[in-house]
């Protein structure tokens, strides 16, 4: 467990986080862009059309990755909230608050693409079904965390309030996941499961896997890039930030 403690203490230190997150941002963005380009081209032109849905099925290559990242991002945000509440870590608070805007964007994207896909498939832009409603609640939670973050003068009070909301909202995550099994729904069940082979042929899910990896890498890159700028702002009075500014190194 020694390596874990060392890892934790290093990343909890703002100058270390700032330096390492710069490398990770570049690396993840370097992965994300080719994956997203290849996945888009593959999904839009080379993957076979669905025998029932035709070409509208190609929306899956955005819809599913966005929805997966939206939910994983929420779990990451709530975990950062827990770490921030228990250990009062500035880095955790910064990560929590910077998860929210990109998580909200991903949730919006999942809802918007789902709506566009719903029209030719179900004949409706929107249905108040459990999966869709719980995703709308996820969007509200993200927006709530963003709103709370800017509603307080005091950074620590804002961080605590956001963390508590993020933690309470975790209850929504299993509701999203099991909504298609617990209630009658138009929505199709999960495409990827850890324990089973996907129900769709490999020609269809291989580009989806590429897009999912691309979306995760993109989320990681943007989260780290946002967080490190925010961290500089909060640490602006510290010696390490002042010397970076003086050296024109930011």
């Amino acid at each position: 467990m020694g390596w874990l403690a060392t890892w934790y203490h290093r990343w909890a230190s703002p100058p270390w986080f700032y330096q390492m997150s710069g490398r990770w941002t570049r690396g993840l963005m370097g992965l994300a862009l080719p994956l997203l380009c290849v996945g888009t081209l593959w999904g839009l032109a080379f993957a076979p059309a669905d025998y029932q849905q035709g070409n509208s099925f190609r929306i899956i290559y955005i819809h599913v990755p966005a929805a997966m990242v939206a939910q994983s991002g929420y779990i990451l945000m709530a975990s950062a909230g827990l770490v921030g509440l228990v250990w009062r870590l500035k880095v955790a608070d910064v990560v929590l608050r910077n998860c929210a805007p990109i998580g909200a964007a991903m949730t919006f994207l999942a809802l918007a693409t789902g709506s566009i896909w719903g029209k030719p498939t179900w004949g409706a832009w929107w249905v108040w079904d459990a999966r869709i409603t719980s995703m709308l609640v996820l969007l509200m939670l993200y927006l709530g965390v963003m709103g709370l973050g800017s509603a307080f003068r005091n950074e620590q009070a804002a961080g605590r309030a956001s963390a508590i909301l993020a933690l309470v909202g975790v209850v929504n995550i299993p509701i999203i996941k099991y909504s298609v099994e617990w209630w009658y729904s138009l929505h199709q069940p999960a495409t990827f499961r850890l324990t089973e082979k996907p129900a769709m042929p490999v020609e269809m899910w291989a580009p989806l896997l590429v897009m999912v990896l691309g979306f995760y890498a993109f989320f990681g890159a943007v989260l780290l890039a946002r967080s490190r700028v925010d961290l500089l702002d909060r640490e602006r009075r510290s010696r390490w930030v002042r010397s970076l500014v003086a050296e024109h190194a930011i």
Binding site: L44, L109, V245
Partner: protein, 72 residues
Amino acid sequence: MIASAAVDGFDPWSQNMQFDSFSTWLQMGGHGGYVFAAYGIAFAVLVYQGLAPLRKRRALRRRLMASLEGER
């Protein structure tokens, strides 16, 4: 999943383009409007999100440089 793909004998390089012309690709069998609207929104959201940290950084740099100048 990667391993099972190999077992199935799947070769991504042997996959053919599903459309025989640019216009049939754009039409997507009548679903072109839906598909490209979804991809267009996704592109706009990702570009906006991707550029947001750069905008934040520029604004912060300006502010910190100004306050450093103010102290001198």
